[in-house]
């Protein structure tokens, strides 16, 4: 099976080359048989990549250490689940995984849109085959997962224990699913640019796939945050590491696209901008992969000794060059007779939203690459870390939060004063009440207070939208509250799914602001000694050391400390933190020792204990953190995922045609009343 897998990878390489060539040839010569052959070539490429993947999985699961990739990433003592996930934990395997997902997506996208988009499909097929060709070629020539060793090691090196975590098993595939999905809108955008068919035909396809991108990137990013929090032991979940930033960049541009596409659907505006955002999202996904794999920027996550960096750089610049050329030569076809009645309208709010999202993306990108720029310009090696990113992005993020509340409430075309008053009064009052409550509670951090005011405001807008829609349904259809809610959401999933996502965003912002009140202390405790401290809410905590214990397990040595925790005199249980030294089959140390933080989670705060070291056998060096509201990061992320699923869920029946983007509107008719949709 391993040999079949290896052979299949080479066949996939040839088939991708064939598919690309005949698709482009068929499209330009308008020869249907070539176009059909290109599509079939794409399907066969996918089938071959599936076989190659099966071959690698077979090598991993049978622990065939004669395969270099297997020997480098698993060991005989590793649990099977992580042996399975080792497929994507290294350079070569993850490239094959990219190709596997891309093959699957391409097959689905082309098979489902072939009949509807006959003009675009050949070019899209060719583009997807070209991207596939690049990934398969990189896997074949620069990082082949089937490379054999000329000897059989006794055991494999195993996987870094910090990567043996459920979050890390799921985080990379979700990110890949998100990254790779950017290729489909990109391919259709390139197809639309080639054919100069930049009307609504490609819009439907790209919106669906942009949602897929957004959905999986959201899950991947949140899972990565969770992994960093529970596994790395530094008490935080986002460090503005270059690789974290790389996943955030396409998320930002895709989010911008999902908002701006509504303006194109409604008003036929922003054609150029939407094409740019689609292309940019794909290029940023490639850029992110390049950052992860090239080692040009220091990162906690980088793959070491990577030979694929120059290939990715070349592919990135070629794709960028072709995209720029196509957009530049088709500019006049992207012209739309844009009109805007007022700067106080939903269209304008979405444009401000795009400006801020792209502004944040630029700031993040600039901060990420600035160490290279600085080294190139002044030969000075510098680091750009959280102080920079927080300073630059917090104001922009708060403005974005404000727009999250403003956008959905403001009327299309032009908002009247009465519209503004009616829509914004209650949420604004609610936001101010929240702010006053925070000030009364003694909160003095400027950004945190502003953030909570805005969180209150946005929450008010969301609740108001649901309340009005449900009231209207109840009034018209005499439905129960639950039925009104279910049908309100079910009959307009895009709108109300979007509000659910916004609710998740509010939770995330509230949790981020909570970290401004984080408290951390270093303490040394002998067995039986106690340490008292106050948490951010003013409660007194007492920690009593239960002593340091050591244990030898088959695959690791463990040093652990237990702290008995009391809050205001009430016993809450024991929090345990560990240091683990993983061992190979000969009980030799593998990797650096890893940390298992002791975490006690509640809705108000996490108590986070890290065993930093042991002195004199029974003195534990500890760091104790009070991290307010961290749980809401995970709840918010989960809510965003639910909202994304609601938005993506296909409508069962569509009685009204999608017509907004071609609507011709009388400028004299000013729509000032808002209608909760889908009722």
């Amino acid at each position: 099976m391993i040999l079949i897998g290896e052979l299949s990878l080479w066949v996939a390489l040839l088939m991708a080359a064939w598919s690309m060539t005949v698709s482009f040839a068929g499209a330009s010569m308008r020869r249907d048989e070539l176009v059909d052959s290109g599509v079939r070539g794409l399907y066969v490429t996918f089938a071959m990549v599936v076989l190659a993947s099966a071959g690698l999985w077979t090598a991993l699961l049978t622990r065939d250490f004669s395969v270099e990739y297997v020997a480098s990433h698993i060991s005989s003592t590793m649990p099977s689940v992580y042996v399975f996930t080792a497929f994507w934990s290294g350079q070569a395997g993850s490239l094959l995984f990219w190709a596997l997902i891309l093959g699957m997506y391409s097959t689905i996208a082309i098979a489902s849109s072939r009949q509807r988009n006959r003009e675009l499909t050949p070019w899209a097929t060719g583009t997807l085959a070209a991207v596939l060709l690049f990934f398969i070629a990189t896997a074949c020539f620069r990082a082949n997962p089937f490379t054999r060793l000329d000897f059989m090691p006794v055991d494999g090196r195993g996987m870094n224990p910090q990567l043996q975590n459920p979050g890390m098993a799921l985080h990379p595939p979700n990110l890949y699913l998100g990254y790779v999905a950017t290729a489909i809108p990109f391919a259709f955008a390139i197809a639309a640019l080639f054919t100069r068919r930049l009307d609504a035909e490609w819009l439907g396809v790209v919106r669906r796939w942009a949602l897929v991108t957004w959905f999986f990137l959201t899950i991947g990013i949140v899972l990565g945050m969770w992994w960093a929090y529970v596994e790395l032991g530094w008490g935080g979940y986002w460090a503005w590491d270059p690789v974290e930033n790389s996943s955030f960049l396409p998320w930002l541009t895709t989010t911008a696209f999902l908002h701006s596409i509504m303006i194109q659907e409604k008003r036929g505006m922003l054609r150029k901008w939407n094409v740019v955002l689609v292309v940019l999202s794909f290029l940023l996904a490639i850029f992110g992969t390049f950052i992860t794999r090239s080692g040009v920027i220091e990162s906690v996550h980088s793959f070491t000794q990577s030979p694929v960096g120059p290939w990715f750089a070349t592919f990135f610049f070629v794709a960028t060059g072709i995209s720029i050329y196509l957009i530049a030569t088709r500019l006049k076809h992207l012209e739309a007779k844009a009109e805007l009645e007022s700067m106080v309208s939903r269209e304008a709010a979405f444009l401000y939203n795009n400006l801020v999202l792209i502004g944040i993306a630029f700031a993040v990108m600039w901060g990420t690459i600035f160490p290279i720029v600085s080294e190139w310009w002044s030969n000075t090696k510098i680091t750009v870390g959280p102080p920079f990113f927080n300073t630059v992005n917090i104001p922009l993020g708060l403005f974005l939060l404000l727009l999250t509340g403003v956008g959905p409430l403001i009327a299309w075309r032009k908002a009247s004063v009465s519209n503004l008053k009616r829509q914004f009064l209650s949420p604004a009052i609610f936001g101010l009440i929240v702010g006053a409550a925070m000030l009364a509670a003694g909160m003095r951090n400027f950004y945190a207070v502003v953030c909570y005011i805005l969180c209150g405001f946005v929450t008010g807008t969301i609740v108001q939208e649901f309340y009005k829609g449900m009231r209207a349904r109840q009034s018209i259809h005499q439905e129960s509250l639950f039925t009104a809610f279910a049908r309100l959401v079910g009959r307009n999933r895009r709108r109300y799914g979007g509000y659910i996502v916004h609710a998740g965003i509010v939770m995330l912002f509230a949790a981020f602001a909570g970290l401004a009140f984080k408290i951390d202390v270093d303490v040394s405790l002998k067995t039986g000694e106690t340490h008292e401290m106050k948490d951010p809410y003013g409660h007194t905590w007492k920690f009593v050391s239960q002593g340091v214990s050591t244990s030898d397990r088959p695959d690791r040595n463990v040093i652990a400390v237990g702290l008995e925790a009391f809050r205001d005199g009430k016993r809450l249980g024991i929090i345990t933190s560990e240091k683990r030294q993983y061992l190979d089959a000969q009980r030799q140390p593998l990797f650096e020792p890893s940390t298992e933080a002791g975490i006690r989670t509640t809705a108000r705060q996490d108590v986070y204990v890290v065993l930093a070291g042991v002195r004199d056998k029974d003195t534990a060096e500890l760091r104790v953190n009070f991290n307010p509201l961290v749980m809401w990061v995970w709840v918010g992320g989960f809510l965003m995922m639910i909202g994304g699923m609601v938005v993506m869920w296909p409508q069962a029946e569509r009685r009204a045609p999608q017509a907004g983007y071609v609507a011709v509107m009388p400028s004299a008719q000013v729509v000032t009343e808002r209608v909760p949709a889908g009722v």
Binding site: E68, G90, G233, S342, W366, R494
Partner: protein, 215 residues
């Protein structure tokens, strides 16, 4: 033109040939290779530490020196100094995260000594940059070329905002011109593209919302 079957057959043969060539080439490369059971290539390490990266950052204590800041302020200061072990973290985060790093505790001891020697936060940061260079900082300086790091994002947002404002103004002018020419056209529905509801339902709903708002 070749048939599909022929093509697949040739592709398979070609692949097999490529495979054989690739194996031959790898076998040649492997000749003379030292056998070692430790496989290190292509591993996704979290980071490779350089435990010898700590350099002494020492200054004589100021006369009658008292600690220049509280432990909490010192911890905050450590968030602005980059650990040199090869990670991407600051001293405080690195030293309190992983006890296998010997660089951040050494740098921490230097910070403590400087604080107890009466040096201010800026003087301590300067002392570290004198020894390690700019890479001792967690953010670019706000002077010289590095000022560009801070200025450019704001500048880009301002330029983008100005361009957007001009665009909106142009679109507004176009809209007013058209309004002057014609007052007829298709009725715009703010919800048509996003809904399954019928026009009758929407009209009924609009009336209900208005009734609700008027209450």
């Amino acid at each position: 033109m070749i048939s599909r079957r022929e093509f697949v057959a040739r592709a398979t043969t070609g692949s097999a040939a490529l495979l054989v060539m690739s194996h031959t080439s790898r076998a040649q490369q492997a000749r003379g290779m030292v056998h070692d059971s430790t496989i290190v290539k292509d591993s996704s390490n979290l980071f490779a530490m350089d435990q010898g990266a700590a350099l002494p950052v020492r200054l004589p204590p100021k006369p009658d020196a008292k600690p220049s800041m509280t432990p909490r302020e010192r911890d905050d200061l450590e968030h602005h100094i980059h650990c040199q072990c090869g990670c991407t973290l600051d001293i405080f985060t690195c030293r309190t995260t992983d006890f296998s790093c010997q660089v951040s505790p050494a740098m921490h001891r230097d910070v403590v000594a400087l604080v107890e020697g009466g040096y201010s936060a800026q003087e301590i940061i300067d002392a570290f940059t004198n020894v390690y260079g700019e890479r001792a900082l967690m953010a670019p300086r706000k002077s010289g070329f590095q000022l560009l790091a801070w200025v450019l994002p704001g500048f880009a947002v301002i330029v983008g905002g100005s361009a957007l404002a001009m665009l909106l103004k142009r679109w507004g002018t176009r809209s007013r011109d058209r309004a002057a020419r014609s007052t007829t056209g298709a009725q715009f529905s703010a919800t048509r593209g996003h809904t399954d509801a019928t026009a009758e339902e929407l009209a009924e709903l609009e009336a209900a919302v208005r009734r609700d708002d008027d209450k």
